[in-house]
């Protein structure tokens, strides 16, 4: 029998397998390090003061991040209000119209939009909504975030609806329902959990975004509810305080980081649970 070096080749195959498995799992380490570190540093900083007061001027201890917490919530909420209807409707439109010219360009724009760096979106919104009005505002921040949410919303809605069997649509039409009613009352409710997971995913995606807010919402050291004025947000706070030389501010940043991380992770887990039923390709 020819010498086929079986022992050597099998050993080589096995050892390469071990190397690959090691390399694959090594990435757990830095992730774990990051999460644990944030939990460790952040957990001690969170208390009632932290959650309800605004930051004190430099040098004074104490203070909290309520303005950023509230700010984040408001900005994300407004962004969702803007993006969700547009995103879902576009998704519905695209799933129904595979071939029209408009559909082609829309799909192309969505693809392109997905790849645009977040900071570029910030620049553009600056020119649309900040310069003309002469002021930074949380509304412009929400607009920027909404733009970023759109590709995810549109994509997931379209994919969910595409997976619904054609026969369902036929059944609705056969019952005499007008076309748009078939879509709205039969198809969409069927795909609700898929669409919902897309919504949650898009929120998770933008909740932690900083760059688009740098020149739109800009940040605000005071508590504010006015969406036409600058507003603070968690990621902005973390960025500003982390890069500052003050220990007090670092402390606040750790607590904020913990809250942000936990929120984003929770949202992702929720998305997972809702997607499980649908197997949507996002």
């Amino acid at each position: 029998m020819r010498n086929v070096n079986i022992k050597y080749r099998v050993a080589k195959s096995k050892s390469i397998q071990i190397i690959i498995v090691l390399l694959a799992f090594i990435v757990i380490l830095p992730l774990l390090a990051i999460i644990l570190y944030i939990f460790k540093e952040g957990a001690t900083k969170i208390n009632w003061t932290f959650l309800t007061k605004i930051p004190k001027p430099v040098g004074e201890a104490g203070g909290g991040i309520v303005n950023a917490l509230l700010g984040s919530a408001i900005i994300v909420f407004v962004a969702s209000i803007i993006a969700i209807p547009i995103g879902i409707f576009t998704g519905i439109y695209l799933s129904e119209n595979k071939t029209s010219k408009l559909a082609y360009w829309s799909r192309l724009s969505v693809d392109i939009l997905q790849g645009v760096p977040s900071i570029v979106i910030g620049i553009v919104v600056y020119f649309w909504l900040v310069k003309p009005f002469g002021t930074f505002s949380s509304l412009s921040g929400s607009a920027a975030l909404a733009i970023m949410m759109l590709p995810i919303l549109i994509r997931s809605t379209e994919e969910t609806l595409k997976m619904i069997p054609f026969s369902l649509k036929e059944a609705g039409l056969a019952l005499g329902l007008p076309y748009h009613k078939v879509i709205l009352k039969v198809i969409v409710p069927c795909g609700v959990s898929g669409i919902l997971s897309g919504v949650i995913l898009s929120i998770a995606r933008i909740a932690g975004e900083t760059a688009p807010l740098l020149f739109t919402a800009f940040g605000n050291p005071y508590l504010s509810y006015n969406i036409l004025k600058p507003m603070h947000s968690l990621p902005l706070l973390i960025f500003n305080y982390a890069t500052s030389p003050y220990d007090d501010w670092h402390n606040l940043a750790w607590g904020a980081a913990l809250i942000l991380l936990t929120t984003v992770l929770l949202l992702n887990i929720i998305t997972k649970l809702t997607t499980k039923r649908w197997n949507v390709q996002l």
Partner: protein, 252 residues
Amino acid sequence: MERPVIKSVNFNAFFGTNHVVKNVNIEIPKHNAIAVMGPSGCGKTTYLRCINRLHELTDGATSNGEMLLNGEEVYGMHPIFARLKIGMVFQRPNPFPNLSIYDNVIAGYKLNGLKLSKAEKDNIVEQSLTKAALWNEVKDSIHKKGTFLSGGQQQRLCIARAIAMEPEVLLLDEPTSALDPISTSSIEELFHDLKKNYTLIVVTHNMQQAARVSDKTAFFYMGELVEYDDTKTMFTNPKDTRTQNYITGRFS
């Protein structure tokens, strides 16, 4: 009788706890073509894949019993050895898409790291393609990728690739079920010649094909080897009612 090339004694195969091949005892003589038939899910393909130890690559797949190749226990040697001596042709023609026809034929050598001189390689390629009745059709485009070949030609390329390794046994898993009738008959013609050098075990759904090409036929039903006899006898005078029912089309 001369020692059989393949012999199974009380051979069983499982997918997890699912017992799909039950207690098979069979002796397959050299230079014969054996057809393995049976309804879908009867275990014939699984049995075939046990011979060259492809079965165990599936998660949770196990087997026990004796499987002898020329008296040697197949499950006692390294699986790679077994596969070198037992070639396989699959249901869908699967030449490697990134290799030329030439490289496809000697793929077995390359994969195993066997070094050959150019003259040796040329020789093997020409011989294998000739035995697979493909040489004349492709000899001018032998370094092109095989994707332009028809289904029948691709399958013959796969046969050439398998016999290039000079196996003792050639396993064929429904080799013509994905081909048109003309390609099918060209492959069937091949079997008569291939028998001279190798032993063929062909799983087939097609009773007419079994009748046309094989010397002996094995009939599997629900994992058991129900009947095994000379093809002529099996088809004209089956001994088991299940065989009878299958042949007359009671179930497929």
